[in-house]
Structure formats: structure tokens, C-alpha cells
């Protein structure tokens, strides 16, 4: 199986430091003064040349945030964050704002090149193949996937600003708007105003409210009625600046009968201090529309002893606003020191459908508390949750989920499957499912298993010729197979590699 082999080769090349995106880019940046107050917010808003209503919205959020408390219900532990000791805005210094890629700081281009993210359109991901069909189909030699060239449009967010967005013109031809949210505020303020904060209200939770006050950039997508977005859209987030929080805001609107698939990826330099990342993502699917949102989260997880790493406190929610709409979340979570994240679906439209597919891997001293909420409001709404948690090292991995069927959600159905896999005996896996059914016709099914990669299993594989790393990779890939298959094919291979790299050093 070539993917496993590649994985192992890659694992070998990385010796001590497993995290290969930990380098730092040395560039000058433009920062807001340290700390948080009305002036910081005015500074950010002015930098972006925002309309007055946006500034007012932010200031209102900030006032409300000051009355809120940091949540403590998640199974994560971290020292108190001093919110006055952070920078809330950092942007690469530039003259007048790059008009084309040639004006972008070459250091930044180099950073994205090192990360494997193509910013020049002609360098986009070429011919990435799905992992060869492993099921031994009768069709002899049926191994090559779709070798056709596939293009992916990228929005690259570096610290607090978007530095480049590719394929904009081509997307515009299809009527698809794909741009930094700061730009959308200039060009399509009415769309932003209509939808911003309608899925995650300003006061939703501590971190979302903070984000509402200080968010700096993120992606904006609007797909007009009946349009099937002609390519994958993706945003690539990079935190570079020291002591800087990243607060991105993403807003995706799929108008009636449209379809879009979107992927976000993230990395950060390896540093001793912890860094805060508090994002908000809002998805809106109108009648018959479909949004597929995938995440490959690979923020710096901290070192072997648990020093450093990203605190990832993220609010992601999708609103199936129209009948027969569909939103599906797929996430591969391998990074961050702390993950606090529950991508959710509000199933408002009748016959709408929400899906959550998750692979959450924790190793070293990582703490993951993640899951989903499926809120069934409309009739005959369907949700499906498949969660695979893998805990290794000294990590703690919790699945936390809520499925609720409202009084009016006649015929609501949910299926949940939560599996946990433990590697070694110093880690923990926990499953916390909440179920609320307020009408008798709702059918909610829940399955959960916890298993362990046993020495016996590894020995069995090794007896057949696999090294220990190959054996772990094989067993884990088998465990996550159902979810991996839901990722867009461009990323499935990358995801498979990442899984193995994350588990490097988890045995022995």
C-alpha cells in the first residue's frame, strides 16, 4: 500500500521534531498596540477601512464580552490567559497593498511554498490521486484513482490578513464570490451585513464574542442560486507573529440550489509560548443548497513536554436555513495544545440534513475536547455523526456531543457513532453524549466503542513484515477509514500522511 509506505518514509525523515511546519518567517509587521480596549478595536476597524455599522457591531461585542466569563465545562486545563498581554492585530508590512503576487513579500510566498500551498495559479495542486483502491476489487489492476488535474482556489491568511486569493476571476465568471472578508466588507457590505452573526450571534459564547470584537480577516464565500462552484475553495491560515492571537471570521453563503466544497488548513511556528486562536465560522445553506466544509487542523501542538502550542477555541456552526438543504462538516484535528471545538448544524429547514465526520488525534500532552451539536428544528430532518478519537502519549481526548429534537421536529432522525482508540496506557478517551428529544417521533441512535491498539495486534502485523510505525499507521488508518473517505480527494492523501506523522513516537 503506497500511502502507508510514503507515510513511513516521511515519518523517518522527520527525526526529533515531528512538527515540520514549525519554522518562522522573519518579516516586518504592522501591529496594533498590545492589549485590548476600544482603541484596539477602532485601530483594527480603521485599518480595514470599515463602514461605521461594522465598528459599532464590534464595539457592542466588546462591551458584552467584558461581562462574560471564560467557559470551564470542557475537559481541558490551561493556565489563565491574560487577554491584555496579547496583540490583536498583526499584518505583514506593505507599501500600498499588493496588487498582484509579484508585490507580495517574497518571504511570505516562500512560507506558503514551504507549506506546500500554491499561491501561483499555475502551481496549484496537480493530479493528486486518491489513495489506490484498497479493497481488492475484482477489476485487476484497478488502482489508479482520478488522475485528472483538479484545481483548488486558495485564500491565504497570514496572521491577521489575507495575503492572496487565487482563481478569483475564474470564480467570478461563475458568479461565485470568494475573497477576504475585509474585502467583502468593501465590495459587498450588504451581503455581509445581511448574514454576519446570524448563525453565531454576537453573544453566543465567550470566545465567539471576543472574535466578534476583534476579528481581523478570514474568508467570505457567496455562491449564487443554482450554481455549482466549479472548484474546491480553500483557506490556509498561518499564525506567524509572536504573542499574537488569530481571530479569523469565515462566512459562507450557499444560495438556493447551489453547492460548494470548502477546505481550511492551518499551521503555526513551533514556539515555547502558547498562542491563542479563536475563530468563528458561519455557514448558511438556503433551500436545496449544500455546503461541504472540511478542516485539516495542524496547528503547532507543543513540544514533547507539553510546552508551547496553540490554544484553539473555535466556534463553527452551520444553518440549514432552507428546506432540503445540507451541511456537512469533516474535520481532521491533529494539532493544537488545546482544542475546544464543536462544529454544529441547525437543521431549521424541513428535510434538511447535517453531517459531522471527525478524526481527532491527540498525542504528547495535547488536550482535545471536540464534538458537535445537531439541533433538529424542522420536520424530517436527518443528522449523522461519525467521530473517531485517537489518543496516544499522555493526551486526553473527549468527544462531547448534543443531539436535540425540537417539539416541531417531527420525524427527526439521528445516528451517532463514536469510536475511541487508545495507544498506550497513559492517555485517556472520554465520550460525553447529550440527547434531548422533545417529540416522540424522533429516532436517535447512539453507538460508542473504545478499543486499544494492543501489543498483540502490533506483533501480528510486525510478524508479517511491517515495522512498528507501519503497523500503527495501518491499524489507525483502518480505524479512521470511514471518515477519511469523506474528505475531498485532493486532501485524502495528505490527511493520511498527517495522521501517521502525528502519531510518530506514540509507541514504544
Amino acid at each position: 500500500m503506497p500511502a502507508v509506505q510514503e507515510t513511513v518514509d516521511q515519518v523517518r525523515r522527520i527525526d526529533v521534531d515531528q512538527y515540520k511546519y514549525g519554522f518562522e518567517t522573519l518579516i516586518e509587521s504592522d501591529k496594533a498596540p498590545k492589549g485590548l480596549n476600544d482603541d484596539t478595536i477602532r485601530f483594527i476597524s480603521a485599518k480595514k477601512n470599515e463602514p461605521q455599522w461594522m465598528l459599532d457591531w464590534r464595539l457592542d461585542a466588546y462591551r458584552r464580552w467584558q461581562t462574560m466569563r471564560e467557559p470551564t465545562w470542557a475537559r481541558v486545563h490551561y493556565p489563565k490567559i491574560d487577554y491584555q498581554d496579547l496583540y490583536y492585530y498583526a499584518a505583514p508590512k506593505k507599501k500600498d497593498g499588493p496588487k498582484s503576487l509579484d508585490e507580495i513579500d517574497p518571504e511570505i510566498l516562500e512560507t506558503y511554498r514551504k507549506l506546500g500551498i500554491p499561491l501561483r495559479e499555475q502551481e496549484t495542486l496537480l493530479g493528486v490521486q486518491r489513495p489506490a483502491n484498497e479493497d481488492g476489487e475484482d477489476g485487476e489492476g484497478a488502482t489508479s484513482g482520478n488522475g485528472a488535474e483538479r484545481r483548488v482556489a486558495v485564500d491565504a491568511v497570514f496572521d491577521s490578513v489575507s495575503v492572496a486569493t487565487t482563481f478569483k476571476e475564474e470564480l467570478a465568471k461563475a458568479g461565485v464570490l470568494f475573497m477576504p472578508i475585509s474585502e467583502a466588507l468593501q465590495e459587498h457590505p450588504e451581503l455581509v451585513k445581511q448574514y454576519l452573526g446570524t448563525v453565531v450571534p454576537v453573544t453566543d459564547n465567550f470566545f465567539a464574542t471576543l472574535n466578534s470584537a476583534v476579528f481581523s480577516d478570514g474568508s467570505f464565500v457567496y455562491v449564487p442560486p443554482g450554481v455549482r462552484c466549479p472548484m474546491e475553495l480553500s483557506t490556509y491560515f498561518r499564525i506567524n507573529e509572536r504573542n499574537t492571537g488569530q481571530f479569523e471570521r469565515t462566512l459562507i453563503i450557499a444560495d438556493k440550489g447551489s453547492y460548494v466544497s470548502y477546505l481550511e488548513g492551518c499551521t503555526a511556528p513551533s514556539r515555547d509560548e502558547n498562542q491563542l486562536h479563536a475563530a468563528v465560522v458561519e455557514l448558511i445553506a438556503l433551500d436545496d443548497a449544500e455546503i461541504k466544509y472540511s478542516t485539516i487542523q495542524n496547528w503547532y501542538p507543543g513540544d514533547k513536554d507539553g510546552k508551547g502550542g496553540i490554544y484553539n477555541f473555535v466556534t463553527k456552526r452551520g444553518d440549514c436555513r432552507g428546506p432540503r438543504s445540507k451541511i456537512s462538516w469533516t474535520q481532521l484535528e491533529t494539532g493544537s495544545a488545546i482544542t475546544w471545538k464543536y462544529p454544529s448544524c441547525i437543521l431549521r429547514g424541513d428535510d434538511s440534513r447535517g453531517e459531522f465526520y471527525s478524526i481527532a488525534i491527540s498525542n504528547g500532552h495535547q488536550q482535545v475536547d471536540s464534538g458537535t451539536k445537531m439541533l433538529h428544528l424542522g420536520k424530517n430532518t436527518i443528522s449523522r455523526i461519525i467521530s473517531k478519537g485517537i489518543a496516544a502519549g499522555k493526551s486526553q481526548n473527549t468527544y462531547r456531543g448534543l443531539v436535540s429534537a425540537h417539539r416541531k421536529a417531527k420525524g427527526a432522525r439521528n445516528f451517532t457513532n463514536c469510536d475511541s482508540l487508545l495507544i498506550g496506557d497513559k492517555c485517556g478517551a472520554h465520550t460525553v453524549p447529550y440527547i434531548e428529544a422533545k417529540n416522540a417521533s424522533a429516532v436517535i441512535e447512539h453507538e460508542a466503542t473504545t478499543s486499544k491498539i494492543s501489543e498483540e495486534m502490533l506483533f501480528y502485523c510486525m510478524q508479517r513484515g511491517l515495522s512498528e510505525e507501519e503497523a500503527v499507521a495501518l491499524v489507525v488508518n483502518g480505524f479512521v477509514k470511514d471518515v477519511l473517505q469523506t474528505l475531498p480527494m485532493e486532501f485524502a492523501v495528505e490527511a493520511q500522511k498527517l495522521i501517521s506523522v502525528s502519531l510518530e513516537g506514540s509507541v514504544g
Binding site: M1, G136, E140, A142, S454, F459, Y460, S467, K481
Partner: protein, 251 residues
């Protein structure tokens, strides 16, 4: 030179002594049967040969083709041609048998500096071998041993052996759990692989198996050592008299 040479092997687990000065030589091309009471150390011997952790080897040596086997990791031993058909094969959910076989074969080939097999070539080999063992293609698509019956698991072990073409195959009670027809199919599978270049250590409780796989030599293992060695008629004698005469105290 013998293929396998075990000298004065002492092995303990958790401080408990299990192999106690075991000597055993397996010649190239030889089929050696090992019989012995429950708990006498047969599986322990098989695991130690394959390189399982948790066993403390306090004394003795094991040479494979004249080389020290004990210093190698399990996967290195596999690549050198040591194969163990497990008494209790493990299940690996989500990993299709077909993929497992390909991963294993290619891992071994790579360690030996050989090319990976092309997919059509590989598929042909597997389907041929499976057909001979009466293994349905549908089973090859299922997770390794997941939901397999006891007999199917054993057949799957023999399929892996056929595909990996080891120099030394240790079969740990591969006959237990097989119905009469399956016993015949599996034995035929083993017999087809017999060659002057390949040796077998066949661990069994039943003389019946040795009617199908006729051994060159039969060893009796009791209390952690080989206490008697003879021809295939020794198996018949054991069947008649049992192990009582070998049950003296461990030295």
C-alpha cells in the same frame, strides 16, 4: 548447515520459567512436528522465534541460517523468512485483508531490496492462492479476520503463508477448529509449499493432522524442553499412551 538451531534456550515470562534448556534443530526442507501437553511451552517457543516482546531470554542461542536470530526485530525476522501462523489470529478492523496482504508482502520485499509487486501481479497471486484454499473473494475485502469463523481465520493464516513464501513456517495449532474438509484443504495447502528450500515446525495436539502432513520428525515438548524425538510413529504412540511418562518435575 541446519536452517534453525536452538541451543539451551531458557525463557521466562513475569519471572515464571517457561522454556527450560530447550534444544531443537530443524534441517532445511524438514517438516518437524512438535507435540506436548497444554501449557508445556509450545506457543511460547513459537512466539520467541517470531520475536514477540515480553519474553525474557535468560540463556541460550537461536541461529537461523547460521545467523543470530534473537537480535533481530520481528519484522526483520519476517523479511528473512520466518513465518508464524498464530494459534489465535488477531482482528484488524477497517483494514481490508487484501490491503493487509499487499502491505505485508511489499514491506518484506522492500526490506529484501526487491521491487514492489505490480497490482495486477499481486492480485493474480492472491486470487490464485485464495482459490486453492477455498477462500471467497468477498472475504478478502473484509477487515482482516473481522467476523471470520475460527476455521476461516486459520485458512487466512495459510493464505498469508502461501503468499509470503517463508523459509521457515511455524504453524501453531493451525488444525484446531477446522472441520474435516477444511483440515484436508489446509493440509494440501501446506503440502503444496513443501520444498527442499522450506522447513516447517508443525505444532499440534492431534495425530490426525500428521496423517495429512506427514512429518519427517516428531518432537515431544514437556515442561519447557524437548524430551523425546522420533519418527512419525511417535505420534501414534503418544495418541495411545498420552504424556504421563513425560510429566516429571522441571529441573
Amino acid at each position: 548447515m541446519a536452517l534453525l538451531e536452538i541451543k539451551n534456550l531458557h525463557v521466562s515470562v513475569d519471572g515464571k520459567k517457561i522454556l527450560n534448556g530447550l534444544n531443537l534443530t530443524v534441517e532445511k526442507g524438514q517438516v518437524a512436528a512438535i507435540m506436548g501437553p497444554n501449557g508445556s511451552g509450545k506457543s511460547t517457543l513459537a512466539h520467541v522465534l517470531a520475536g514477540k516482546d515480553d519474553y525474557e531470554i535468560t540463556e541460550g542461542s537461536v541461529l537461523f541460517e547460521g545467523e543470530d536470530l534473537l537480535s533481530l526485530s520481528p519484522d526483520e525476522r519476517a523479511a528473512k523468512g520466518v513465518f508464524l501462523a498464530f494459534q489465535y489470529p488477531l482482528e484488524i478492523p477497517g483494514v481490508a485483508t487484501m490491503m493487509f496482504l499487499r502491505t505485508a508482502l511489499n514491506a518484506q520485499r522492500k526490506k529484501r531490496g526487491q521491487e514492489e509487486l505490480s497490482a495486477p501481479d499481486f492480485n493474480r497471486r492472491v486470487f490464485d492462492a485464495a482459490a486453492k484454499l477455498g477462500i471467497e473473494r468477498d472475504m478478502l475485502r473484509r477487515g482482516v479476520n473481522v467476523g471470520f469463523s475460527g476455521g476461516e481465520k486459520k485458512r487466512n493464516e495459510v493464505l498469508q503463508m502461501a503468499l509470503l513464501e517463508p523459509k521457515l513456517a511455524v504453524l501453531d495449532e493451525t488444525d484446531s477448529g477446522l472441520d474435516i474438509d477444511a483440515l484436508k484443504i489446509v493440509s494440501d495447502g501446506v503440502n503444496r509449499l513443501r520444498s527442499p528450500e522450506r522447513s516447517f515446525v508443525v505444532i499440534t495436539h492431534y495425530q490426525r493432522l500428521l496423517d495429512y502432513i506427514v512429518p519427517d520428525v516428531v518432537h515431544v515438548l514437556s515442561k519447557g524442553r524437548i524430551v523425546r524425538t522420533g519418527g512419525k510413529e511417535l505420534a501414534l504412540e503418544l495418541e495411545a499412551k498420552g504424556y504421563a511418562q513425560y510429566q516429571e518435575e522441571m529441573a
